[in-house]
């Protein structure tokens, strides 16, 4: 039963990890930008959920609906006004630029919200369900299902909609997409906006489970790195596979080596994957 509990925990956490990473993966894949502001977007989303719950008594699963358009606009404008100017610069420049933006946003959050850890506590609490000996808290279950729904929604968007097909086209071959009449700059901005919206929604879901503080942003970012590299870049299924693998490794690792080594293990795994299989679990070679 112990093994079953580890497996279920990994499954629940893995879907959340996938949700954290998917926006990051989309931006990396389409814009070729490592978006270091992603972690702070997630935390900002968590604060939004916190604020909405305590001021308007709006439950976090409704806050997702508020967060998505707000963060989309934020991301869209950020890309259009700032990132677009250096989009063709070497990785060093784009990475450092997003790091600078992250410093600004994170400092602003510490300034306005303070660095204290807060927790969104649902009243009344939802409790937990147990099947045989496996226990799952209901709030975690809701967050996981919502994370899966968001991931599925992105998948549908990329597969079925006109904009989604254009995003995939730019991802596959930018020059050819230009020749086919795709407005690449517009697509870049939309992809970045989608990435931000997914980060915001992920943050809202995280608020259900984890404590909220500006200091947690680098942890989320680290998870996004590892998931992207493990699963393969820029694909929805890759992010899911990476998220599940990471959660499983962390779960098994912390059972056998102790929880303090779980993070070390995940980063070692990241470096091993980078060296041996840089295209990730589900990625194709040369499609990086």
């Amino acid at each position: 039963m112990h093994a079953a509990q580890i497996l279920i925990n990994a499954l629940v956490l893995g879907c959340l990890y996938a949700c954290i990473a998917i926006g990051f993966s989309l931006v990396w894949g389409v814009l070729n930008v490592i978006n270091l502001i992603h972690g702070s977007f997630i935390v900002l989303g968590a604060y939004l959920a916190f604020g909405l719950y305590y001021s308007l008594h709006l439950s976090p699963w409704y806050a997702v609906v508020v967060a998505a358009p707000l963060f989309f606009v934020l991301g869209y404008l950020l890309q259009r006004l700032l990132l677009n100017r250096v989009i063709h610069a070497p990785v060093l420049v784009t990475l450092t630029l997003t790091f600078g933006l992250d410093l600004i946003l994170n400092n602003a959050m510490i300034y306005f919200f303070k660095a204290d850890y807060r927790k969104l506590t649902l009243v009344p609490p939802l409790g937990s369900v147990s099947i045989l000996d496996v226990v799952v808290p209901v709030d975690r279950l809701i967050a996981t299902v919502s994370a899966l729904a968001l991931t599925g929604l992105l998948y549908l968007l990329l597969r079925r909609s006109r904009v989604g097909r254009a995003i995939v086209a730019v991802r596959l071959d930018r020059d050819a997409a230009v020749l086919m009449g795709v407005n690449v700059e517009q697509i870049y901005a939309i992809a970045f906006g989608l990435g931000a919206a997914l980060a915001g929604c992920a943050g809202v879901l995280m608020a259900l489970i984890f404590p909220i503080s500006p200091l947690t942003s680098s942890g989320y970012l680290g998870k996004a790195f590892v998931v992207c590299v493990l699963g393969g870049l820029g694909s929805v299924s890759g992010a899911l596979a990476g998220g599940l693998l990471l959660a499983l490794v962390e779960g098994v690792g912390s059972t056998f080596f102790g929880p303090s080594h779980a993070t070390t293990l995940s980063f070692v795994l990241l470096i091993v994957f980078l060296i041996l299989r840089p295209q990730g679990l589900l990625g194709r070679k040369g499609f990086e």
């Binding site: 420049v93 600078g100 994170n106 990241l270 470096i271």
Partner: protein
């Protein structure tokens, strides 16, 4: 010796005269200035000469600080500890480099960024050796008066800066520097004409790490107390890049000037806006990248170009 190299040496000589003018505060600033210049010049060997976006500076800085700290707690002298640390860092980085430097672009950036995370977690968990999250106390090295202590560490850091500058110049003028420039321009082509790119990149990575680690060691002995979140701070990886971008990538003189200028800005921000200093730093980075992407050196080069057109 080119004019730029000579100017760099003169600049370092000017910094050496600092104790004539200031007290303990000026010495503290001078020590940090030298440390920043060491980090930026060392980063420049990998990031500027070879064009690899390395974010591993914090990893080697922290490694150096902890290696020196642990050795000094075992009773070794400061100098011996720093030398052992530097050699260990050279070997470690050359070995890691041979593996990590096969990655390019984004993947190398991520891998080098994760290196600091891995080392931090290892140090955090090796409580018996490093004190873990409680940090590590380091015995006093010089043991004289406050001012004497400040003077001692200022000259130690300055000496290290001089060594780093000489190393950078030697690399820039040697076959190694030429090979790194080839790698920056077109790695595939340079490996095809018979350049052992892995060897060259690893050598550059090792040399860079060696001086960063030594600076970390001297820093640890200077502040007497280190903890993982302090010395493995990701900002130690990003600041040298900002300094190099500020001064101009690839030019040792520009990079050193960038380091000093950066310290000046940082000090002004710290003094006036303590609550929002990281935000101001972020704003500085954004402005710099958007409006002056090739650094201060580009201003001068631009002026020369215009003159040449008129002739």
């Amino acid at each position: 010796m080119t004019r730029a190299n000579l100017a760099l040496l003169i600049l370092i000589a000017c910094v050496a005269a600092l104790p004539l003018f200031g007290g303990a505060y000026a010495l503290r600033l001078g020590t940090i200035a030298c440390m920043y210049a060491i980090l930026a010049l060392s980063w420049n060997v990998v990031g500027g000469f070879a064009g690899y976006p390395s974010f591993a500076t914090a990893a080697f800085f922290g490694f150096g600080a902890y290696a020196t700290g642990v050795l000094m707690n075992d009773g070794l002298s400061l100098w011996l500890s720093v030398v052992i640390t530097a050699i260990a860092a050279l070997l470690l980085a050359a070995m890691l480099g041979a593996v990590l430097l096969r990655l390019r672009g984004h993947y190398f950036a991520i891998a080098s960024l994760s290196l600091a995370e891995v080392l931090r977690e290892l140090v955090n968990n090796a409580t018996d050796l490093t004190g873990g999250g409680m940090g590590l106390n380091i015995p006093l090295a010089s043991g004289s008066s406050v001012l004497g202590d400040a003077m001692f560490f200022f000259y130690a850091m300055l000496g290290l800066l001089l060594a780093t500058a000489l190393m950078t110049m030697a690399v820039a003028g040697s076959k190694l520097g030429f090979g790194l420039a080839c790698i920056r321009q077109n790695e595939t082509a340079s490996s095809m004409i018979g350049l052992n790119t892995t060897l060259y990149k690893s050598a550059a990575f090792g040399l860079s790490a060696c001086f960063v680690a030594a600076a970390g060691g001297v820093y640890a002995a200077w502040v007497h107390y280190i903890d993982p979140s302090d010395v493995f701070d990701i900002l130690y990886s990003v600041k040298p890049i900002v300094m190099a971008l500020m001064g101009g990538l690839g030019s040792p003189l520009g990079v050193a000037c960038g380091a000093f200028l950066y310290l000046g800005l940082e000090e002004v921000v710290w003094r006036n806006y303590i609550q929002i200093h990281t935000g101001v730093l972020g704003l500085l980075i954004v402005m710099l990248l958007l409006f002056l992407p090739h650094g201060l050196v580009s201003l001068r080069a631009g002026m020369f170009e215009r003159k040449a057109k008129h002739v």
